[in-house]
């Protein structure tokens, strides 16, 4: 057991820190989502120029071939520097690796570089109104017409659709398949066409990170099928398996910063002597550390066994739960100040409610833990 970083990892961290010190992202624009997104897009261009946009990608595709631990270090340092996630995070984390796994040489040639440079933004067209946690129940249909596919249906919770050039779209190409996860196909769909309508969804924060996507006769050429017709479930799983690996470290550092901020607020109000407040802050500190340690255990498990251990399924659940407790405690400590419209803590409080829903609800994560980690039977 060795919880120190080796020479390569330390060199990686030092090089990144030095680069970040020379390339500060500057202050985030407030109150204007488009300006905020433009800031993140510009930030990704600078990361790409410095060779830092996709450290986990292989060098042949413009990455650094970083190990999982180095990738974790990248996200820790990014968060520690107060930098945002790159604008094309879905392209970098999901679309890129999926295209590398399943794409033809032509598809890789066409798509990977614009993902890296944020020239072309990607969104993810998986969830539907009646297919959330139960993804395989999706109804969006793709019908062959010559050498094109015609897409009809509705997608929802599509982050960044308003900025996206491309969509990772899963649609049903064979409604007669005996099982619902058969007969699906994964498409690379151009968002800039008449058959695609984007309607922003206003969230409880007042922001619109998500959209509804109405697809009415949208067309996708044969050449943009990824991984073969009827193979969409497997390709989608590749995308989903990538979803929670690197981000955990970014989110964990951000939560630590939030907690440190709250401890500062509590100390400033003389509340560290209040045993109830101290107890709750101590518990949050424990949870933050458990999250950090467990995430590192998970990395070692993947590096050793090629797959995540039981830890992997637990961290997202624990993170969302902890972030909700933290922001709720902030409301107790700061009082109305944390509930004032536009206050950062008010935003965090409301935004945290989404944490246990996005990227797999806590309920589904518990089911996954019960069935796949603990081997408990499924109710027929």
């Amino acid at each position: 057991m060795d919880l120190t970083f080796n020479a390569d990892e330390t060199a990686f961290r030092n090089e990144l820190r030095a680069w970040l010190a020379q390339n500060e992202p500057g202050d985030a624009p407030h109150g204007d989502e488009d300006a905020h997104y433009a800031w993140r897009r510009d930030w990704q261009r600078r990361l790409a120029d410095g060779g830092w946009a996709a450290v986990h990608w292989p060098a042949e595709h413009g990455g650094r071939g970083a190990t999982l631990t180095q990738s974790a270090i990248f996200y820790e340092e990014l968060a520690a520097a107060g930098a945002p996630l790159p604008a094309n995070v879905l392209g970098l984390l999901l679309a890129g690796p999926t295209i590398m796994t399943w794409g033809t040489p032509e598809q890789q040639e066409r798509h990977l570089v614009p993902i890296l440079t944020a020239e072309e933004i990607w969104c993810q067209g998986f969830s539907e109104p009646d297919a959330g946690s139960d993804l395989a129940a999706l109804k969006t249909r793709a019908v062959k017409d010559g050498d094109e596919w015609v897409i009809t249906g509705q997608k929802v919770w599509t982050s960044m659709a308003q900025y996206a050039k491309w969509c990772m779209l899963v649609a049903r190409t064979d409604s007669d398949a005996p099982k619902k996860h058969q007969g699906l196909t994964y498409f690379l769909m151009d968002m800039e066409q008449d058959g695609v309508e984007i309607v922003p969804l206003k969230q409880i924060t007042g922001e619109s990170e998500f959209n509804e996507l109405f697809l009415d006769g949208a067309r996708v050429p044969d050449a943009n099928v990824l991984g073969g017709v009827g193979n969409g479930w497997k390709v989608a799983l590749t995308t989903l398996m990538n979803e929670r690996s690197g981000l955990a470290f970014f989110l964990q550092v951000r939560m630590r910063q939030l907690l440190d901020g709250l401890i500062g607020e509590a100390a400033g109000r003389g509340l560290m002597d209040d045993p109830v407040v101290a107890d709750k802050l101590g518990e949050l500190h424990l949870r933050c550390e458990v999250l950090r340690l467990t995430a590192y255990r998970g990395l070692t498990a993947i590096e050793t066994y090629g797959q995540p251990g039981p830890e992997g399924s637990l961290t997202k659940w624990m993170w969302s739960d902890t972030n909700q407790q933290l922001t709720q405690l902030a409301a107790d400590i700061l009082g109305p100040e944390a509930l004032t419209a536009g206050a950062p803590w008010a935003f965090e409080l409301l935004r945290a409610r989404g944490n246990s829903i996005e990227g797999g609800t806590t309920e589904v994560l518990k089911n996954i833990v019960a069935e796949r980690v603990l081997g408990l039977p499924r109710l027929k």
Partner: protein, 339 residues
Amino acid sequence: MHFDLTEDQKEIKRVARELLAARSSWARVREAAEAGAAYDQALWDELCALGWPGIAVAEEHGGQGLGAVELTVLLEELGYACAATPFLSVAAAAAAIQACGSDAQRARWLPRLASGEATAGIGTRALCADGVGAEVLVLLERPSGEAMLVTGADCAHLETIDPTRRYATVDGGAAEPLGTGGGAGAVAAADRIRAAISAEVVGIAQRALEMTLAYVKERRQFGVPVGAFQAVQNRCAQMLLDTESARSTALFAAWAADAAPERLPEAAALAAAAAADGGRSVTASAIQAHGGIGFTWEADVHWLYKRAQLDAALLGGARRHRATLASLAASRVARTANS
């Protein structure tokens, strides 16, 4: 970064699991418990012959010369077996004296503890595990946090709800700080004792989880295994989360004890806070998930619940460790703000 046991440590774990499965079945634990914490002398002799009590004691003092991580591995397995032996008290005291004690304290106690000729007690005057018959006690009750070595005390048997271990109250005796010079060494010794108790709790929680999983897969109601019901599944998932949280922090504390002593105060508080509450809640869930059977004397999960309660008491409860964590975090935040 390699946050897992080494191959050698996994081998120690495997050997310990097999040996204890053979020598310390539930039938043996029950026998010892029902006779009023009558320790299994044959098992203890065997563990001593294998050198387990001195696993973290230097070879010059008759130990195995291994570290806190190896000790943690054995403690987890002894906890998993809920074995009726004084292993925790003796091995934890020996490891703390090895790491923090003065030369005189090491020379006086380590050879006898490592060989099993002498036993030790750990805890407080109000609750001391294995105090009766022990030649030396390591007591953790000073507000300033130092561990004290106490000899010649008057120990009275204390019958607790956990008859798989002997407990005592302590009166009188001669006390000296464990270690030399200022209090830092003796405070670190106390941290090591708590890290050791936390490691045992990980094994207790792991066993409770495994027994529960086996039971809910087997037990059928409404025509299906009860483990197919989501309410039961969610409970089991929570048990895993609590067990793994305790494991992550216990391993961190063991690693810090060996390799990064400056991080031990925080790591030990993390481990103690996670274990004190986690052990109780996982073992309570085990009883609940076993249904009516879980509430009977015959179903062995209650031994784990009882041990977890007493271990939480030996740790001083989770709350004081959360207070320590809050105060450590506040100091760090204040330092960062001033720098």
